[in-house]
């Protein structure tokens, strides 16, 4: 099946030479479009996807080093299950951008939907706008940078890695975190269950600022101070007593 699809692919590719291939998404079904992207990737060219029209499941499952850009908004699960990808999205994204990213980088120029970087294990996602609810849910590594604000349940059930939010975070931040760190430059709406705040140490601040500078953040837009949200680790040991039993013990 894949072979037959791959045979159709070259027709969909056109070449505005300077930037590598461009693919017009409107002319293709999602399946053919993804096959076209993979075929272009195997040739080692930069690929520009025109008119993505916020469609779902674009550029998923690419496990090669490659360079992509989307000239518009993308839908759900864009760049999910990728390893080594370098992608730029000019518009917004739907839910689950960069789901399970292993390595590589994804840059989104506007807002990301809910669950950006869900379960990501490595690499880096940079959101220039705001992120929706549950950013970095169940993250297991890598770095998620949000230049704007992040929504409800940021870092929900996070297990490793770090989230850097330059703006504020919404309610229930860091709910049920196991490990990992959420750095927040702005306001914290409220803390989630078993999350606590600490102030970042000086060496952490220096490292963080150097990292953000390398991402082309200007000094004057960096927050003055970062606070960090980490796990209080009270949920590590499950308390099997009922409230009444506990009361009896205390008495």
């Amino acid at each position: 099946m894949t072979k037959r699809l791959a045979g159709n692919v070259p027709k969909a590719l056109s070449a505005p030479v300077s930037q590598g291939y461009s693919i017009d998404a409107r002319k293709l079904t999602t399946r053919l479009l993804n096959a076209s992207i993979k075929s272009g990737v195997s040739k080692g060219r930069h690929i520009t996807i025109l008119n993505p029209d916020a469609r779902h499941n674009l550029a998923v499952g690419i496990v090669k080093r490659c360079s992509l850009s989307f000239a518009g908004s993308v839908g759900y699960y864009c760049c999910a299950f990728c390893d080594g990808i370098s992608a730029t999205i000019e518009g917004n994204s739907g839910w689950g951008l960069g789901d399970n990213l292993m390595s590589g980088s994804i840059v989104i120029r506007q807002d990301a939907g809910a669950s950006v970087g869900a379960s990501m294990r490595g690499g880096q996602i940079l959101v220039w706008g705001n992120a929706g609810a549950r950013a970095g849910i169940s993250m297991k590594g890598g770095t998620l940078v949000i230049a704007g604000n992040s929504g409800f349940l940021t870092g929900f059930m996070m297990q490793r890695g770090r989230i850097i939010v330059m703006g504020g975070v919404g309610d229930a931040a860091g709910d049920s975190m196991y490990e990992g760190i959420v750095y927040v430059g702005g306001e914290i709406g409220s803390l989630g269950v078993d999350a606590k705040t600490e102030s970042a140490t000086e060496s952490e601040e220096v490292e963080l600022r150097a990292f953000l500078k390398a991402l082309k953040f200007r000094d004057d837009i960096l927050p003055r101070r970062f606070r960090k949200i980490v796990s209080a680790k009270r949920l590590y040991h499950y308390d099997s007593l009922e409230p009444l039993e506990r009361e009896r013990l205390v008495i």
Partner: protein
Amino acid sequence: MERLHSAHLVGIGTMTAKAYFHHRPWEEVMCGIAAILYKTGESTRSQAVGLQLREMLYSMRHRGVDSTGVNIAGQHFGTDYVVRVVVSEDQGASHVIEGVRNAVAALGGSIVFINDFGRFRRIGLNYSGDLGKLSDSILSVKGAEIHSIGRSSEVIKDVGDAYELDKKHHFSKVNGTHGLGHVRLATESQVDITHSHPFWAYPFPDITVVHNGQLTNYHKLKREFQQRGFRFQTHNDSEVIAVYIADKLSRRGKLGDVLEESLDDLDGTFTYVVSTDSGIGMAKDRWSAKPFVILETDEIVGVASEEVALRRIFPDDVRRVEPQEHEVLTWNVSLAPRIKVRLN
């Protein structure tokens, strides 16, 4: 479809809340809602609301293929009310319509026109009495079900996707000032026309609701309303939202306040949109569990479960907004001059 359906039910029964959120794919693909509203009330131009809803709903057909429905508001009917009725085939359509005619006449009303769309009838009538009585007497005719009663809006819903709906009902040619629509993946109640959205709020004219989610205190709310004499036509949890909103609106007035109250009174996951004679409003639950995006310019606002629907009608440079948890928004058409409707 079946696989998704049963997997979802397993998800609720055996998983913890956290694991449920983890299984996002099922969480997200159930039902899609969309609405559009023109804020240019003074403009006499009738807006292609039907056509735009068709495009939006068709682009979200992957969220639900069981049924599709729209409510197009801001129309001019030329009669006091338009009643949308579906007639049962086993009773014999002409027999049922005769019954409806008699029921209306008995209350002193008169039927001006009846448009025929297969099993569906679009009835224009003049009537000045209590709407509750009118609805009850039409519903008492065996084989007749009401989809909507409106002074300036009507509900059009059927099984199949948006283009199939348009093929049967030609709603893409209906113009108005605002409207809403729904594509359904049935999870809580049966797949048939009456159980599909939008839901009309018995017995209040022009109020309809589309809903994406599940209400867990539906039975309790429904019982309370039934004890107060409200009538429910289906076993769908979304119908109770329509009745809830209409009941509160009739007593309190402001749509925004009523939606705000509903966030605490309704339990479960939901994002829903309400249409009234003068505008639309949306409410999103405290978990932010259901997707919703908004695109707004000075003249027009479009809302939908997914951006893919909005990009069908908005250019790329309009910034989209994603409302967060526990949020309510309303928009008004600033009461446009009534607009002429064309129907095939």
